[in-house]
């Protein structure tokens, strides 16, 4: 029996958990009491994570499609098939016809090698992580405004703040551990302001609760900024010294009108004023937002960053901005350059100097052209010309944003899937390579607070080749001899490729609870809070946000705003959830009451329209309509229709091409709702 500290593979909080294991069996899982991110608390998913390690549904041998059926084959046969097919596709269509996509649950080592294979072996920047449609906006915004594409604050700051400003994230579902931090902080006297379009568990406990209409956030932030300005809460000195565009931003702020904004948001003006005043008065105010479980308009996020800068609280304990990721290694796969426009360490593919560095490191110069995104591949209006696609721990079919991915998948001449379990994508795969499951895997994840930490193997299945190893083997077939014999070797190269990882080695990760980047030779212990040890002049870039125009409304006959989002836990139809009995049961609790899926609508609306819980409801946009089941709940605000991502029928019917922008919090779909005779 042994007790091994590892990192939870679900959300981005990066909870420290122990696995108890015996030779070849995982016996249980429990939290670390002193890990700084979770301090003894983990959510239901963490408590059942060991079930993933014991499911017999694990893939153990490669599967190759023969006569239409996936059949178990030896590794050599599968690798040979894949290399030959890749070579043939590349020679016929060129490197731009290949795409390499990773899910946000790949380890840093796997992700790094995947993008290296794409760039070095096949000469393409067609590399992306599958959640780019949602997340990359947030990263871009942070990179542009703060020059660092990650959260400046850390989770512990939630416990240190005087005021928490929760911006449109359902913490009880997406990052329950952080939700717990908020409840505990509130119990010890921290004031909580929450902006949400759902009455979720955490928002309901906030001292000030703002429920704006979806799509009106810019007015709300504008109005808050205006109150900050009017009451003298803006740290003008900080803005003048450290921020570019401060004057323009302050000018644009003054154009907002509280009463008008309140009317558009449908939030009482006093409440906005109260929230803004509380935020302005707080000695240390922390804003919590999400990198996007739902896609958001970049301007929305810029407005949030502006609010953080206006108080000048960055780099202070218990203050600033905490941007939460929903997957265990979303931060890491981005850091590793699994992005079509960035090499490892967010080096733009257009930066010549940096490219020289990679040429030295890799012996090959990556192409100076941004690649295609996952959205281009699966949700693009037309074919992006991709003929071969490599999917590592990524299944586009479980994402509503890619509800029509199967069209693109059918066109593929080669679809390679690397997964620990057979997921829906298997139906389209030509080859499936097993991956180590959680508990077998060795590597590192980077959490939402930039914490690079080990995920450790506790049981060993020699028959399964880890992702990096298979890819290294593939590279070898194409004449590239890479000398990695273990994940630590890959990390040694990552240290050279990613400057802010340069101080991280497996040795150093054995102490304490990982290292938070930037972790360099000069700062071997890593960096807890960004910007804590001083700021440079004009370091930040603010973005002026003009008063938006009222969105085009299709007319009074479409009074409801429909948004897609999370429901239940942030689980999708996750392969992980499907392989744990208790998680699956909990995931289905609501679904069992509404076996055909559901959309949520407020009781007052339901009563007025004679819509009953559990009964059929018809939703129509000016273009399309769909019939589904109503779930009548006061968790959603009046005037909105909330569609969980997994209710694909609605997504498919109402999701318009250019998918990621429509039906989001920033741009709801206007619909009408009526009861439907059964």
């Amino acid at each position: 029996m042994q007790q091994i500290l590892t990192t939870c593979p679900f959300c981005g909080v990066g909870c420290g958990i122990y696995l108890e294991a015996e030779v070849d069996r995982v016996l249980g899982a429990y939290p670390s009491v002193t890990h700084p991110a979770n301090r003894g608390r983990i959510c239901l998913r963490g408590w059942h994570v060991h079930e993933l390690c014991i499911t017999p549904a694990r893939l153990r041998k490669p599967l190759l499609r023969k006569n239409g059926q996936l059949e178990e084959v030896e590794w050599e046969e599968a690798i040979r098939f894949v290399s030959e097919r890749l070579e043939s596709i590349r020679s016929r269509y060129g490197p731009a016809a290949l795409a390499f996509l990773a899910g946000p649950r790949c380890t840093n080592e796997d992700a790094y090698i995947l993008q290296k294979v794409a760039r070095v072996v096949f000469g393409t920047n067609n590399v992306d992580h599958g959640y780019g449609a949602y997340t990359n906006t947030a990263l871009e915004v942070l990179l542009r405004s703060l020059k660092v594409p990650a959260s400046p604050a850390v989770i512990e700051d939630v416990g240190e703040a005087d005021l928490l400003f929760i911006d449109q994230v359902d913490l009880s579902r997406q990052n329950p551990t952080v939700g717990g931090w908020v409840i505990r902080a509130r119990e010890s006297g921290t004031k909580v302001v929450a902006v949400s379009y759902r009455r979720d568990r955490i928002t309901l406990q906030a001292d000030i609760q703002l429920y704006p209409q979806p799509g009106t956030a810019l007015w709300l932030y504008g109005a808050i900024a205006k109150v900050l300005w009017d009451r003298g809460f803006i740290d003008l000195e900080f803005l003048q010294k450290y921020c570019i565009n401060a004057d323009e931003v302050l000018r644009s702020v003054q154009q907002y009108d509280l009463l008008r904004a309140a009317e558009i948001c449908d939030v009482p003006p006093q409440l906005i004023e109260e929230a803004a005043t509380a935020y302005g008065k707080a000695k240390s105010a922390l804003i919590l937002c999400s990198t996007g479980g739902e896609a958001r308009d970049p301007l929305d996020l810029h407005a949030v960053v502006n609010l953080a800068l206006m108080r000048g609280h960055l780099g202070r304990k218990g203050a600033g901005l905490l941007v939460l990721t929903e997957h265990c290694n979303l931060q890491g796969v981005c850091d590793m350059g699994v992005l079509p426009g960035y090499l490892p360490g967010y080096t733009s593919v257009f930066e010549d100097e940096a490219m020289d560095r990679f040429q030295t490191l890799w012996g090959v110069r990556p192409p100076k052209k941004a690649g295609v995104t996952a959205t281009d591949v699966f949700a693009g209006a037309n074919s992006s010309g991709i003929r071969a696609c490599w999917l590592m721990r990524f299944d586009p079919l479980i994402l509503a944003g890619f509800s029509r991915a199967f069209e693109a998948l059918r066109r593929m001449e080669l679809l390679v899937v690397q997964e620990a379990f057979l997921s829906p994508i298997g139906k389209y795969a030509h080859v499936v390579f097993p991956l180590p499951a959680f508990g077998e895997e060795d590597g590192t994840y980077t959490s939402t607070e930039r914490r690079v930490q080990r995920v450790r193997p506790v049981v060993f299945t020699s028959s399964v080749m880890p992702g990096w190893q298979l890819l290294t083997e593939l590279a070898k077939r194409f004449g590239h001899r890479w000398a990695y014999s273990k994940p630590a070797d890959v990390m040694e190269e990552i240290r050279q490729a990613v400057p802010f990882y340069s101080g991280i080695g497996y040795e150093s990760l054995e102490h304490s609870f990982g290292r938070q980047w930037p972790c360099t030779q000069d700062r071997p212990g890593g960096t807890t809070r960004l910007f804590e040890d001083g700021l440079r002049e004009r370091q930040f870039v603010m973005t002026p946000i003009k008063v938006p125009s009222i969105p085009a409304h299709p007319g009074p006959e479409y009074p409801f705003r429909l948004v897609f989002g999370q429901s239940l836990y942030f689980w999708h139809r996750d392969t992980y959830v499907n392989n744990s009995q208790v998680l699956l049961r909990e995931h289905r609790v609501l679904l069992l009451d509404y076996p055909d899926g559901f959309v949520e609508i407020n009781p007052t609306d339901a009563e007025r329209l004679n819509i009953r819980d559990g009964r059929a409801i018809k939703i129509s946009s000016p273009l399309q309509s769909v019939v589904t089941t109503a779930r009548v709940t006061d968790e959603v605000r009046p005037g909105t229709v909330h569609v969980p991502f997994f209710v694909r029928e609605v997504a498919e019917a109402l999701w318009i091409n250019g998918a990621e922008e429509i039906g989001t919090l920033s741009k709801p779909v206007f619909v009408k709702v009526e009861p439907c005779a059964e």
Partner: protein
Amino acid sequence: MRARLINRDDIVKLVRILMREYEVVAPFCSRGSDTVFDVVTEENIDKIQLHVRNPIYPPKRFVLPHVEQMFEFQMSEVGVSAIPTYNEKPRALFGIRSCDIAGIKHLDNFFLGREFVDPYYLRQRRNLFLVNVVCTEIGTDVGEYCFCLCADTGPAARDGFDLQLMDLGDVWMVVAGTERGSRYLDLEFMARGDDSHIKLRREILSRVRHQFFDKQTSWFSAAMRLITRLEVSESTWEKIGRRCLECGGCSFVCPTCSCFTVDDRRVSAGKAIRMRLWDSCALGGFTRMAGGFNPRKAVHDRRNRRFFHKLAYQFVLRDGSIGCVGCGRCAVVCHGAIGMPSVVEIIRRQELGSQD
């Protein structure tokens, strides 16, 4: 009471002797100030911790594992056989705290003391040798969330152990609680003590008890009365329920919680296994029936349930003891800070209006 004295340095010898018969599990330090129960080997035997924060992962897992295989089913054309898969490994828990001893006693009564005897529990329990260590150091043994004094389970267990060790400063006192335990009192490094040691034991325990009052307390009695009489208002339960994020952690770490669910898994064409896994009444799916009816749909109904089962007098009668041993683990793992002490306090304040 049969007792002996042992030098601190000889404790390792005792462990080695136990290792001849048992797989010995003892507390160790891990990352940060985490502590874990782990198997003692020749490599780590010197690192066993006697004064240490009680590990969060409760030792109940050695009688009721987190995941436990119950059967292997072999299915063929000619028949089906259900082969029970028992774990009968002899195991000694070295350094189990008094609160956890009380937890195991509670589980014994539940799994073995009723009409139906649980065969899996029984086999693991009768092969389990318990070496209790009395909590004498404030700050390490007695952590910030401990309240065994209020649950009357510690700092020194009165029974339920095979052997009990207590730090008297210069020497340790060894007490045998069972016949099985008393065999070890005859080892050559065990010395006889005298009345002064008994006196010292009393003094130390009295000191520790008094120091407890600076720590967490949980005044059960009012809460038990109110819960038993169903006098806790719905709004109080709602207030408590709102803070529950439905992780199930409180049940998993609780030394007396025993609910489980059962899951079948197909391993290969003719083979399947049935296993049981820890379950929690905090979860929405816990009571939901296949037809769709859920008697405890609201989260506060489920929280209400937890505390009713732990504290209602009817259950105390049925189970033989209250369902809380004062280990404080639920207070550590709860996201919403609604572990047992806080809930008792919320109920007291809400229903009785007490301000202190």
